[in-house]
C-alpha cells in the first residue's frame, strides 16, 4: 500500500504544492488537507508547509494553530504520527506547543533568501533517518521571522537530549540561538525546520537535491513501523 503523506493548506500557505511534489518524488502519495477539515483522510504523516498562513496576523502561526485540522494533527502527533513543519509550519508547531521555543523577527530585520548550508545533528528522527549525523546539506532558506529563541534551560535540555536536528553552518542567517535551524520533540516524530528541503528535490529548480532525504526518511520510517 502506498504511504499517504498529508500536506495542509492554510489560507496564505505558499509551499504546499512544492511539499506535495517532494512527497511524490520521494515515492509517497501526497494528500491535500484543508485547514477547515478536521479529517486527516487516513494519512500516515503530515507536512505543515511554508508560507504566511492567515497573513501572519497576530503572530506567525498563532491563528493556524487553532484551525480545525490542527486539532486532529496535535492529537495524532502526540500519539506518534510523524509531523514535519517547514518554515511557517515550524512556527505553527511552536505555537501549538508541540515543540518548545518560538520564532521571532530576524535580528537583521531583513527578509533573508539564500541557499543555506546546514549540518544534520540528529539523524534518528522520523524525518532525518536517511541522513547521517554530521552530514552537511545545502537547501534554500527564506524567512523574515526565523530566529529561534528559547530559555537557556530549554536550549540546554534540547542540546543534552540531542533534540537539535539541524544547525546553520558558516552563516547564521537570522540570529537563531545556538545556530539552531531545526528541532524535534522528545519522541522524534515531530520536527520543525526553518529552511526549505522541499525546494531542494530536483536539479532543475533546487540548488541541490539534498532536501529529498527528509521525505524519503519518513517513508522508510513508516514502512519499517
Amino acid at each position: 500500500m502506498t504511504t499517504r503523506v498529508g500536506v495542509v493548506t492554510f489560507p496564505g500557505s505558499l509551499d504546499d504544492r512544492d511539499a506535495q511534489r517532494a512527497v511524490r518524488l520521494a515515492g509517497a502519495e501526497p494528500v491535500a488537507l484543508w485547514h477547515r477539515d478536521k479529517d486527516l483522510h487516513q494519512v500516515d504523516a503530515v507536512v505543515l508547509p511554508g508560507g504566511f498562513s492567515y497573513g501572519d496576523y497576530l503572530r506567525c502561526g498563532a491563528i493556524s494553530r487553532f484551525s480545525p485540522v490542527m486539532e486532529t494533527i496535535i492529537e495524532q502527533a502526540k500519539l506518534g504520527m510523524p509531523v514535519l513543519g517547514i518554515c511557517n509550519g515550524f512556527q505553527v508547531l511552536c505555537e501549538s506547543h508541540l515543540l518548545p521555543g518560538a520564532l521571532t523577527r530576524n535580528d537583521s530585520l531583513h527578509f533573508i533568501c539564500r541557499d543555506q548550508k546546514l549540518r544534520i545533528e540528529n539523524a534518528g528522527t522520523a524525518w532525518t533517518r536517511d541522513y547521517s549525523a554530521g552530514q552537511e546539506i545545502v537547501v534554500p532558506l527564506k524567512n523574515g521571522e526565523g530566529r529561534f529563541v528559547a530559555d537557556e534551560h530549554v536550549l540546554d535540555a534540547l542540546e543534552a537530549e540531542g533534540r537539535v536536528v539541524a544547525r546553520y553552518v558558516d552563516v547564521n542567517p537570522n540570529g537563531s540561538y545556538r545556530d539552531i535551524a531545526g528541532i524535534t520533540n522528545a519522541a522524534g516524530n515531530v520536527v520543525g525546520l526553518m529552511p526549505h528541503p522541499e525546494h531542494a528535490v530536483e536539479p532543475l529548480t533546487g540548488p541541490t537535491t539534498e532536501g529529498l532525504g527528509f521525505f524519503t526518511s519518513v517513508l522508510k520510517q513508516l514502512v519499517n513501523a
Binding site: 497576530l58 503572530r59 498563532a62 487553532f66 511552536c94 505555537e95 518548545p100 521555543g101 518560538a102 521571532t104 523577527r105 530576524n106 535580528d107 537583521s108 530585520l109 530566529r147 529563541v149 528559547a150 540570529g175
Partner: protein, 84 residues
C-alpha cells in the same frame, strides 16, 4: 459598552530588533534623549456584558492562550472606564 485593554510586550530578555530600529531612527529625526525603545501590541476588547471577575478571568485566559505567546511575551489586562 465596557472596554478591556490587553497590552502585550516582548519579555525583557527577548531581543526586539524593531524597537531597536525605531530607537536608532529617533535621533536622526531630532528626538534626542531616548535611551531605549520596546515595541508591543495593544488589543482593545469591547465587552457585550459587564466587566466582572468572570469576564476578566476569561479575557486573561484568552490573552494567555491566544493574544500573547507566553514563551516570548508578557501581557497585562486592564479595564478602561467609560469616557476615558
Amino acid at each position: 459598552m465596557a472596554r478591556v485593554v490587553v497590552d502585550v510586550m516582548l519579555k525583557p530578555e527577548i531581543l526586539d530588533p524593531q524597537g531597536q530600529a525605531v530607537q536608532r531612527a529617533l535621533p536622526r529625526l531630532g528626538f534626542a534623549g531616548i535611551a531605549d525603545v520596546r515595541q508591543g501590541k495593544r488589543f482593545e476588547l469591547e465587552l457585550e456584558g459587564p466587566v466582572d471577575d468572570a469576564a476578566l478571568a476569561r479575557i486573561r485566559e484568552a490573552a494567555e492562550t491566544f493574544l500573547a505567546n507566553t514563551v516570548i511575551e508578557d501581557f497585562t489586562v486592564r479595564v478602561e472606564e467609560d469616557g476615558k
